[in-house]
Symmetry: C2
DNA sequence: CTGAAAGCGCTAACAA
DNA sequence: TTGTTAGCGCTTTCAG
C-alpha cells in the first residue's frame, strides 16, 4: 500500500480511503482516480487479513452440515455460495457426521477463525450447542431444520404441504392404508413431517393406525430399509409408503429387491427432497421436490442481512415445494 | 493476550511462546503451565488473524472445482477436508462452472485471501491460468485431471487401467464392436481415456473403427445423450459402449428410453467413476470405481507437504481403480 | 479534502 | 529462560 501511496504521491491513509468503495467519497475524485490507476498499474491487491485485524470483520462465515456426500447438501451449499460471493464473503464448510463432539469442536474452530456468522444445517429439536450459540448472541441462521424455542432466523421447506401433497396423491390413486417411514423424531423435519402425515391421513379419512408409522434411526438408506423390514414383518397391512426423505425411500427399494416386492404394483412409494437422478431409478421415484438451491440462497441472504444489521429480528422463511413426477406410485392392487 | 500475561505475571511475548506448541519448549515448564492455566481460566482464544498478519501463514487453502453438484466432487472434498482439519487447515471452496473468467476471478479472490495453496480440480490440458500459477510459483496440486507440461504435483485415477478393465470385461462377454463416448479432449481424463480405449481394443483385436469413438462436448448427461444419438444415427454398428464417465452413461440411458433400446440386451454400457446410487438405476450401471475420497486425501497431503517443505519436487500419484458390479452389460445379441 | 499518528493482536529478533 | 522492541498492512480518529 505504501508503494501505491508513493506512486500516487499521497499518504497511505488516502490510498486506503480511495480504495475502499465505502469511503471513496471522502476523497477528491481526481486524487481517487490517480490512486486507482497507481494501484492498478502496480497490480496491487489489498491484504484482507490486515484489514480484518483492524476492523474485526473477516468476510467469512461458517457452514455446518452433517455430510457433504448426502445429495441434499451440495445444492444448498451452492445456493449459499452464490449469495456470499458477490457480497465479498467466503464460507468455511465443515462436516459433522452427526457427531455432537465433532460438531462442537468444529464450531469452536470456526469461531476461532473469527467467522462473522454461522449457517447451520445440523440442528436438532433439542440441541444444547445451538442454544448456547443463540444465547451467546452468535449470528446464525438455521437451514432445512430448526431447533425448538430459539429465536433464530430459519429457512425450511414447507414440510406440511409436501407431506399433504404426497398423501393426497396416494389417496387419489385409491390407497387407504398408507405407511409413513419418518425420519428421526429428534429432528424438526422428522417430527413435523410425521405430524403432518397424521393430520393428512385423518383429514382424508384414511387409516390412522399408529402401527403404520415408524421412525427411522437415521436419515440414511439402511435405516429406511430396516424400518420397512420391521413394518413388513409386523404384519401390518399397507399398500403405499410416504418416506421421510429420498434416502429412506431408496432403502425401501433395497427391501423390495430382497423380498421380491414389486414397486409400484405391490407397494407405492413417495420420497421427499427431489434429489438428482431420481428419474433414472427403477422405478423413477416420485418425490416431493424441495428448492434446495434457493434454501441455501435465502439462508445466506438472511445471514448477511443480520450481519449488516444486527438488531434485525429473526424471520422464518418457509419455501414452497411441489410433487415431482415419477413412476413409483400406482393404484393399489385390486 | 495482555490479560493472560497479566494474570500469569509474565510478558505477552512469553504467553505467545507458551501457547504455541512449536515454541513451548523455549519457556520454563512451570511458567508454561502457569500461562496455560491463566489462559484456560480466562477462556482466552488466540486470534489467528493477528497471527497471520505477522507470520503470513493463514492456515487456509483454496479448493477449485467445476461444480459441487456433480456427484464426483463431494467425496473428493470430504477427503481433502479430512486431511486439512487435523492439520489445523481450512479450505475455501469455489465452483467455477467451467467458466474460465469466473475461474480466474475466483482464484484471484482466493489469493487475495492469502491462501497458502490451491487444490485444483478444473485443470484443462492447455490451461493458461494454470501455467501462470505454476510459473508464478504458486503452491498447488491438481486432482483428477492435469494440465500438460507443468511440473505440478498431481493425483489422478488410473484411467488407462480402468478403461482396460471395461474393454476387457466387454470383450470377454463377446463384444467386438465397442463404442467409446469420450469426454472433452480438452481434459486429460477425456484424452487419456480415449487413448487407452484405442490401445485396449487394438490389443484385443477388436474393431478400432474410428467411427466408434465420439468426443462429447462436456462431461454431462445431455452431452452424452447427444453423442450417442449421433452415433446411432451414423449407422455405425456396435453392441456396447464405454462411457467416459457415469454422467455420459446416464445420458445413454436417456437415449435408450427415447428409442426403445433395451440395455443390456441391445446395447451394453460401462461407466466410469462409480458414483453413488448406481446400483439403484435401471439397469444398475456397471462402472469403473474410482477412490474419490482417497484422491482428495492424497491431494491434501501432497499440498500440506509442499507447504511444509516448499522445495519438495512434484510427485504424481496414480490411484488404482476397480470394475464395480452392475447389470448394464451382457453378451451381445446372437 | 488530506496528512499524521496510533493501534488492531500477535511474533520474532535481540538483549539481558 | 524471559523481557524489550519493532512491526506485519491496514483503518481511523484527529488535526490541519
Amino acid at each position: 500500500m505504501r508503494q501505491v501511496a508513493d506512486a500516487a504521491g499521497v499518504h497511505p491513509a488516502t490510498v486506503s480511503r480511495a480504495l475502499n468503495p465505502e469511503t471513496r467519497d471522502l476523497v477528491n475524485k481526481t486524487t481517487a482516480r490517480r490512486v486507482l490507476r497507481a494501484a492498478e498499474s502496480l497490480g496491487y491487491r489489498m491484504n484482507p487479513i490486515a484489514r480484518s485485524l483492524k476492523t474485526s470483520k473477516t468476510g467469512t462465515v461458517g457452514i455446518v452440515i452433517p455430510d457433504l456426500t448426502n445429495p441434499l447438501f451440495p445444492p444448498i451449499v451452492r445456493g449459499i455460495e452464490e449469495v456470499l460471493e458477490p457480497a465479498g464473503f467466503s464460507g468455511f464448510l465443515v462436516n459433522t457426521d452427526n457427531d455432537s463432539h465433532r460438531e462442537r469442536s468444529l464450531v469452536e474452530s470456526l469461531q476461532s477463525r473469527q467467522v462473522e456468522g454461522l449457517i447451520i444445517a445440523t440442528a436438532l429439536l433439542d440441541h444444547p450447542l445451538m442454544s448456547e450459540l443463540a444465547l451467546s448472541g452468535a449470528r446464525m441462521v438455521m437451514v432445512n431444520r430448526r431447533t425448538e424455542g430459539l429465536d433464530v432466523p430459519t429457512v425450511v421447506p414447507d414440510d406440511a404441504a409436501g407431506i399433504d401433497m404426497a398423501v393426497r396423491h396416494l389417496a387419489e390413486l385409491g390407497h387407504t392404508r398408507i405407511a409413513h417411514l419418518a425420519g428421526p423424531s429428534t429432528t424438526s423435519t422428522g417430527l413435523v413431517r410425521a405430524r403432518s402425515f397424521a393430520g393428512a391421513v385423518r383429514e382424508r379419512g384414511l387409516s390412522d393406525d399408529p402401527a403404520l408409522v415408524r421412525h427411522c434411526r437415521a436419515w440414511y438408506e439402511d435405516a429406511g430399509a430396516e424400518a420397512l423390514r420391521e413394518l413388513l414383518d409386523s404384519g401390518t397391512e399397507f399398500t403405499a409408503v410416504v418416506a421421510g426423505n429420498d434416502l429412506l425411500a431408496l432403502g425401501c427399494y433395497d427391501v423390495f429387491g430382497e423380498r421380491g416386492i414389486s414397486c409400484p404394483d405391490d407397494i407405492s412409494v413417495v420420497g421427499f427432497n427431489g434429489m438428482p437422478f431420481l428419474n433414472k431409478l427403477a422405478p423413477p421415484l416420485t418425490s416431493v421436490v424441495v428448492p434446495h438451491h434457493r434454501i441455501g440462497a435465502e439462508a445466506a441472504t438472511l445471514l448477511l442481512d443480520k450481519i449488516a444489521n444486527p438488531d434485525l429480528l429473526a424471520r422464518a422463511i418457509v419455501l414452497p415445494v411441489s410433487l415431482g413426477p415419477g413412476g413409483s406410485t400406482a393404484p393399489p392392487r385390486a
